[in-house]
């Protein structure tokens, strides 16, 4: 869809009767449209149309183009070389690409680690910081600082820690001499976990802020009632606070899945997704900025990423917007 021309006026909702405008429930459809002049309609059309054209062209049409290109081969030089090959790219991807399944697996591991370690830890920190303690702001800042920084910068900072020669870890455990090196970034059995430590370091602060915002919305009366009933801190959290955090948990889950699918910067800075740290995002990118320009093939990987993403995004949006309609 592109422009969104204002439609012919439909019979608008009857003007809300009743005592006064203040008592009107927000749900009543507002009768603005009847009052719009022709010029207003054009203005409105432009106001919605220009941003929509930009967004749809650069985001959605390119996503659709990815789907179309996934069924072709193309060297990128002129349109003449575009050739329809059906499912061949996917067949090759699923059966004979040595990097594809590891990448899928790593994306899954990425999500599982983020949701199991830094997310609960962020929640734990948020619960502690929500206790109205002194210096709360200082602690929050310390945990939150990594979220403010670029993931690329974070990658450089952690390289200083993982460097086999000069890094903090190897220096501390005496593995920085030739023959004793532990190559945290180069070793395919270690590097994914090394990157995940850095990713978790950042993710915990992010989750802490989301949960702090969620906790702020918890009715203090609930807490008091629970305390009066003699519930312990843990019981209160488990039976009273946590269930009320449901909306936050949904957001946290979606944010974490999307972060896991989007993961790119850290790994690219670390080792460009060489052995051990392959990710779907990295495979797509390597098809563009690497030497090979296999556009159809790269698009096929992007389509896999797109399908997984939409499987998360669509149910989430349906739930969100349904709620909004009701609200």
């Amino acid at each position: 869809m592109t422009a969104t021309p204002a439609k012919a006026p439909e019979p608008a909702a009857p003007p809300a009767p009743g005592p006064g405008p203040t008592s009107r429930p927000a749900k009543t459809p507002h009768g603005h449209r009847r009052l719009l002049t022709r010029r207003d309609r054009i203005t409105l059309g432009l106001m919605a149309g220009v941003p929509t054209i930009l967004h749809v062209t650069l985001v959605w049409l390119t996503a659709l183009a990815s789907i179309a290109l996934a069924f072709t081969t193309w060297d990128g030089i002129g349109f003449g070389s575009i050739k329809w090959v059906g499912l061949q790219n996917f067949r090759e991807l699923f059966t004979s690409n040595p990097q594809f399944w590891p990448a899928v697996e790593h994306n899954v591991i990425w999500f599982v680690v983020l949701i199991l370690l830094p997310t609960p830890f962020g929640l734990f920190l948020a619960v502690q910081l929500d206790k109205k303690i002194r210096f709360s702001r200082v602690y929050q800042t310390a945990f939150f600082l990594p979220v403010v920084m670029s993931l690329a910068v974070i990658g450089f900072v952690w390289q200083l820690i993982y460097n086999p020669d000069t890094g903090l870890i190897n220096s501390l455990i005496g593995a920085n001499k030739p023959g004793h090196y532990i190559d945290w970034i180069g070793d395919p059995d270690l590097n994914l976990w090394a990157v995940l430590v850095a990713a978790s370091w950042r993710h915990a602060g992010y989750m802490m802020i989301l949960y702090l915002a969620g906790l702020k919305g918890v009715d203090p009366a609930l807490r008091e009632a629970s305390a009066l009933d003699g519930a312990s801190e843990w019981q209160t959290f488990k039976n009273v606070i946590f269930p009320t955090l449901r909306p936050t948990n949904t957001v946290v889950l979606v944010v974490t899945i999307i972060e896991a699918l989007r993961a790119f910067d850290l790994v690219f800075v670390f080792n460009k997704g060489a052995q051990g740290t392959e990710l779907l995002s990295i495979l797509v990118t390597n098809n563009i900025i690497g030497e090979s320009s296999r556009i159809g093939y790269g698009s096929a990987i992007a389509v896999v990423l797109l399908v997984i993403s939409l499987a998360v995004i669509i149910p989430y949006l349906i739930a969100t917007f349904r709620k909004e309609r009701r609200a």
Binding site: L58, V59, T62, L160, N176, T248
Partner: protein, 295 residues
């Protein structure tokens, strides 16, 4: 963000549980800052000293030499300038365009509203790699002789601005439409009855009321766009045109033999975001949770 509330003034008696909690928080917070402090320590030591004594050693002297060297040798000012050239128009345009969409969607009951908002919101949630391949080809196709240095949309600041605006307006439209929906309808209805144009409604009534949300989003967008690495890595090919974060990638390739210099460069790159964060902490955090709290 939880703020310290007023009645906290009186001193509460010291309780063991509180002492334990503070101990835990101090230790954890220090552990959290450790990577950054380690980078800072490395950046402040001369390479000769660390290569001689090892990195885990007591520093003889601490200097800012690495910072000045990284700043000058890599021409960092130039790259900061590039970032500014991309981020400022991108943030302003995103806010302008997304607020217009939000106004359309939230203040009128057209049939397409819900669908339109869905399109924008979902677009922002897609991983960037899903669209990059065709986008890259598209950018190479679009000729802009005389408008951009490269003569194309590819490898130009304009190209980065456009994709940032297109991508980020999804999130901003969603947040702003929620915000605008919470403004009473009587406000605009009365003005409309009095014959005000929709543009006046938007520009003079609705937009000024959205200032808090706009400020929060502006802070968030500045940091996001400043921190962008991916778009710049793929859509910019000339080193000269790169914004600072991706230029750092080149710098580190150049100076990989001197980790102290790289540490200094990385920390310098992070400084503007840290300044924005410390100055506008409240806006930043409320921006982050504006979108999230709705779910």
């Amino acid at each position: 963000m939880s703020t310290l509330s007023a009645p906290r003034k009186q001193r509460t008696p010291i309780r063991p549980a509180r002492v334990l909690l503070h101990t835990f928080l101090v230790v954890t917070a220090l552990a959290w800052l450790a990577p950054l402090l380690w980078a800072l320590l490395a950046a402040m030591r001369p390479y000769a000293e660390t290569s001689d004594k090892g990195y885990v050693s007591w520093p003889d002297k601490l200097t800012f030499d690495n910072f000045t060297n990284a700043f000058q040798q890599s021409d960092m000012l130039h790259y900061f300038g590039n970032t500014l050239l991309i981020a400022v128009p991108a943030v302003l345009l995103t806010l302008l365009l997304s607020s217009m969409v939000a106004f359309y969607v939230s203040r009128f009951d057209f049939r397409v509203n819900l669908f339109l908002l869905l399109v924008f919101t979902a677009g922002n949630l897609l991983p960037q790699q899903v669209i990059i391949t065709p986008l890259y080809r598209l950018y190479l196709l679009i000729d802009l002789p005389g408008i951009t240095m490269s003569g194309k949309l590819y490898d130009s600041a304009l190209g980065l601005v456009l994709i940032h605006v297109a991508f980020q307006s999804g999130f901003c439209a969603f947040v702003l439409s929620n915000y605008m929906r919470s403004l009473p309808h009587e406000l605009t209805e009365a003005a409309l009855v009095d014959g005000a144009s929709v543009w006046r409604l938007y520009w003079q009534i609705v937009l000024p009321l959205c200032k808090p949300a706009m400020a929060a989003l502006a802070t968030l967008l500045s940091i996001w766009i400043y921190n962008d690495f991916f778009w710049a890595i793929v859509l910019i090919s000339t080193g000269e045109n790169m914004p600072i974060t991706s230029a750092l990638n080149n710098l580190s390739g150049q100076y990989f033999t001197d980790p102290n210099l790289v540490a200094a460069g990385a920390l310098l790159t992070a400084i503007p975001t840290l300044i924005v964060y410390f100055a506008l902490q409240r806006q930043f955090v409320s921006g982050l949770t504006l979108g999230a709290n709705k779910g």
